[in-house]
Symmetry: D2
Subunit: 263 residues, 4 copies
Amino acid sequence: MIIDFNGKKIYAETHGDGEALVMLNGIMMSTPSWTQFIPALSSRNKLILLDMLDQGQSSRMSEGYDITLQADVLKKVLDELGIKKATICGISYGASVAMNFAIKYPDYADKLILFNCVPYTSQWMRDIGKGWKLARHSPQAYYHTTIPVIYSADFYNHNPEWIAARKEFLMQHVFNNKDFLDAMDRLTDSAVAHDVRDELAGITAKTLLVGSKEDYLTPPQQQKYIRERVPGANLVVIENCGHAAMYEQPDIFTALITGFVNE
Amino acid sequence: MIIDFNGKKIYAETHGDGEALVMLNGIMMSTPSWTQFIPALSSRNKLILLDMLDQGQSSRMSEGYDITLQADVLKKVLDELGIKKATICGISYGASVAMNFAIKYPDYADKLILFNCVPYTSQWMRDIGKGWKLARHSPQAYYHTTIPVIYSADFYNHNPEWIAARKEFLMQHVFNNKDFLDAMDRLTDSAVAHDVRDELAGITAKTLLVGSKEDYLTPPQQQKYIRERVPGANLVVIENCGHAAMYEQPDIFTALITGFVNE
Amino acid sequence: MIIDFNGKKIYAETHGDGEALVMLNGIMMSTPSWTQFIPALSSRNKLILLDMLDQGQSSRMSEGYDITLQADVLKKVLDELGIKKATICGISYGASVAMNFAIKYPDYADKLILFNCVPYTSQWMRDIGKGWKLARHSPQAYYHTTIPVIYSADFYNHNPEWIAARKEFLMQHVFNNKDFLDAMDRLTDSAVAHDVRDELAGITAKTLLVGSKEDYLTPPQQQKYIRERVPGANLVVIENCGHAAMYEQPDIFTALITGFVNE
Amino acid sequence: MIIDFNGKKIYAETHGDGEALVMLNGIMMSTPSWTQFIPALSSRNKLILLDMLDQGQSSRMSEGYDITLQADVLKKVLDELGIKKATICGISYGASVAMNFAIKYPDYADKLILFNCVPYTSQWMRDIGKGWKLARHSPQAYYHTTIPVIYSADFYNHNPEWIAARKEFLMQHVFNNKDFLDAMDRLTDSAVAHDVRDELAGITAKTLLVGSKEDYLTPPQQQKYIRERVPGANLVVIENCGHAAMYEQPDIFTALITGFVNE
C-alpha cells in the first residue's frame, strides 16, 4: 500500500494477524530485504514492513531532514493502519528511528527490540559516514568501504560464495545507482543529529537490546550504555556475529524477535 | 503422572499442546520451580516437566548412578507420552542431561536449548562440588556456600528482598532436609562422569547455547567451547546476568525458548 | 624489621634500591608469599613487603577493626622507612587497602597498581565471606570453599600437581591453624565496611587496574566501575586467568608492575 | 645508519644500551613515530628502530614482494649491529613481521611482544585493504576510510583536538604524497600472503600478546587464536582502547614492553 505523508509517498505492507510488529530497515535496506523472514515474523503477528523516506519504493527527498522525521513517518503508517500499539523492532538506523519513535510517541510503543544500535551518532561514526560518501565514485570502492566492516571476519571468511553473490548483486544493481547513492547520502546525513542519550531514562517501552560480539560499527559498548539507562532494559550479545546479525545468524535473529514480541 | 522407570517412580506433567518442549531441571530444582513459566512455555507447545531421579516427587536412589541414566529417564517419559521428537531445554545439570540425551537418542532430539552448561565436569567443578557436600552440616553454611555464587553480584545486591525471601525459604524448607541433601549429594556425584567433549561434533540437533556474562559457575568460556564444536550451534550471552538466568532475567529466558522452539 | 604501631608489632622488610614499591598482600597472604617475585620486583626499586595486622609475623588483633586501619599501618611503615612517596601495588584485599591509603594519604601515593579489586564490599561478597567463616570446621571444607573459586577453571584443571602441592600445604600448615583462621575471620570482617565508591573521583595517583577475565570473585565488571571513575585510570584484563593472577600468570604480573612503576 | 640489503637501503637507528629491543613499525609508521617513546624504551635497553622496505627513509620497492622479506630485512639489520638475540616488539603489520621473523630465525628471537596482530590475512582483511587502495583518489577519502576505524570510538570522540591535529598532518604531508601511497599499496599487498597459522605451535620465543577491547581491525578474537597455539603465550586485553594502542594508551603500551623485556 501507498500512504501519503505530507505529499510524500510511503510504501508499506502487512502480513498476517495478531499483535502488531513493525520491522524498521537498516540504512541500506528496503522491504524486500525481509522476504526470507516474513513467514516466521508473521506467523502469530501482524507484521508491518515499510520503506522509510529515501528507502525502496517510498519517495526520494529533495533536501535534508532529520531522523526524527522517520519517526513521524512510522506514526503516520500506524495511524493509517489503525494500530494503536505495536512492538517496534529496528536494525541499526532503524533502531535509531525506533528509539526516537518510542520517545516521541510513547503510547504507540509497547515494546522495543533494538538490534545493533547506538544512543547517538558520535564524531567517530560521522567520520566513518563521510568515508562512505567519499567512496561513491565507483561501485568497487563503495563495496570495499561499506561492506566488509559490517560482517564479522569469521562469517565473511567462511561464506565466500554467499559474500560473492552479495557483492555481485550490490555492484550490479545498487552501488552503481545514482538514485540509491543520493538517497544513502541523505539517510546518512539524517542520522547525524541522532542523539537520545538524555532521553533514554524516560523510555517506558519494554526494551530488548541485541548486540553482536564482533560488531565493529556499533560495538556492544554502545548497547551497554543504553541498557544501563533504559529502565528494565535487557541486553543479549550474539557471540561470533557482526553488525549484520540478521544475515549472519537469522535463526537467533528470528527467535529473539518472535519470543520477545509474544511473551 | 507417575511413570515407572525400572521400578523407580518418575513424576512428569504436561501442559498445553503443540510441538513438544521438555524443560530439564537444574540440580536443585523440581517441577514446581517452573510454575511462573508454564503459561508462556505452554501457550503454543506441549510443555513437559519432569522430576529426574532424586528430584522432587520422583524416587530417591539408594546408590550411585551416572548422569546418562537421567537421559534414559527422559527417553522413558517421552515413550510413555508417545512423543517421537522434542525440543529439549536444559538448565545447568539439566543441560548436561540434554546433551547426553541428544547424543544417545539423536532421533528424539529435534532441537537443543542449553542454558549455562559445560561440556564436562572438570576437576575444578568437582572440587567446588565437594565444598557443597562439606557444607551440609548447617543450613546456614549450605546457603552461603551454594547460593551467592550462582547469582550475579549485581542481581544479588540490587534485589535484597527477593534474595531474603529465597534464603528464608531455602533455610526453612530445603537445606535442613536430610532427604534433599542426600539426594543433592547423589545428583552431584552423578555429574562427576559427565564428559561429552568427544561427542559434541556428532550432535545433530539444532542447538542454541545461552550463557550469562556474570556466570561464575559455568562461565561463557565453557559454552564457547561447545559452540565451536557442535555443528551450526549458536551462542548468545546475556549481559549482566549470573548462573541462574531464569530467575535473574525471566523475560529473556522465556523469549529465547519460545522463539527458538517455534521458529 | 619490626615496627611499632600503637603497641602492635608490624613486620616489614625491604629489598633493593630505587623508587619505593610497596606490595600489599591479599587476605590469605604474608611476606613469604612474595619470595619468587623479590628478584624481579627489587631489581630497580626499593621493594617494601609487610604483613598487615593479623597477617604473617605482625600482631594478631584481639577485636574488630576497619580496613582503613591497615592504611594507617602502611603510613606508619613508610614513615619509619623515611619514604615520602611510593607506588602502592595491592592484590585483592591489599588493593582495597591501597585505594583507602591513596584516598587518606594522597601525598604518599605516587602510583597505584590494583590487581583484582572491588570498589566496595557488596552484600554478595559479604555473603560469600560468611560462607568462608562457616567452613572453618574442617581444613577440607575450608579448602573446597575458598580455593577452587579463586583460580580459573583452566589453570586449576591443567596444573593438577601444582594444585595438589598447594592443597597439601594449606591443609597441613594453614587451614588447621586456629590462629590463622581467627585472623582470617577478623580480616574478612575488616573488609565489610570497605566502600570507596564516592571517593574514586578524587584519587590523584596515576592508576593501573588489572583484572582477570576468569576472576569469579572480583570480576572485571568491578574494575570497569573503578576505571570509569578514577581520573586517567587504565585497565588491562588478563585473558584466561583467575583471581590469583600472581600465581597463574607470574610473568604478566611482574611485567605489568615493573613496567608501570618505572616508566 | 644506512644498511645495504640486496642493493636496497635500510634505515636504522639505535638508542641506549642493554639487551636488544626492536620495535617494528605498523604499516603507516616510520622511525619518527617512536620519538615520544625513545626515552622510556631505551632507558635500560638497546632500542633498535628501523624503517622496513617501503617505509620512511628506507628504499622504495619497484615491484611486489612478500612480508617475509621484511623478516630478512630485520635479520640483516641485527647482523650488521652484531646482535644475536633480541626482543622483537611489533605493532599490527610489524607484529606480522615479528611472527614471521621468529619462525624463520628462531635463534634471534628471545621474546616476542605482539600488539594488535593477526595470524593470517583473511579475505575480510584483504577486502578492507582493497578499500584503502581505492580511496587514494583524495586525501579526504583516504583519511575517512583508513583512520577513524583504527581508533576506539571513545578515544576518537573525546580527543577532538588531538584527532584534528593528526588529520591536518596526515592530509597535508602524507595522504597527498604519491610516493607514500604507492608504498602503502605495496606494503598492503605484501601482507596478503601473511599466514603463520600452521607454524604458531613451533614458536619458541616467550610471547606476550596485547589486544585492545575496541580494536575493530584486528579484534581480540584473533589474538585469542594465537594465544591458544603459541606455547606458553599470554594475552592481555586493554580495555576501552582501539587498534592504535600506542597512541590511545601510551603508558600501558610502554609499561607492558619495558616490564616484559626486562623481566
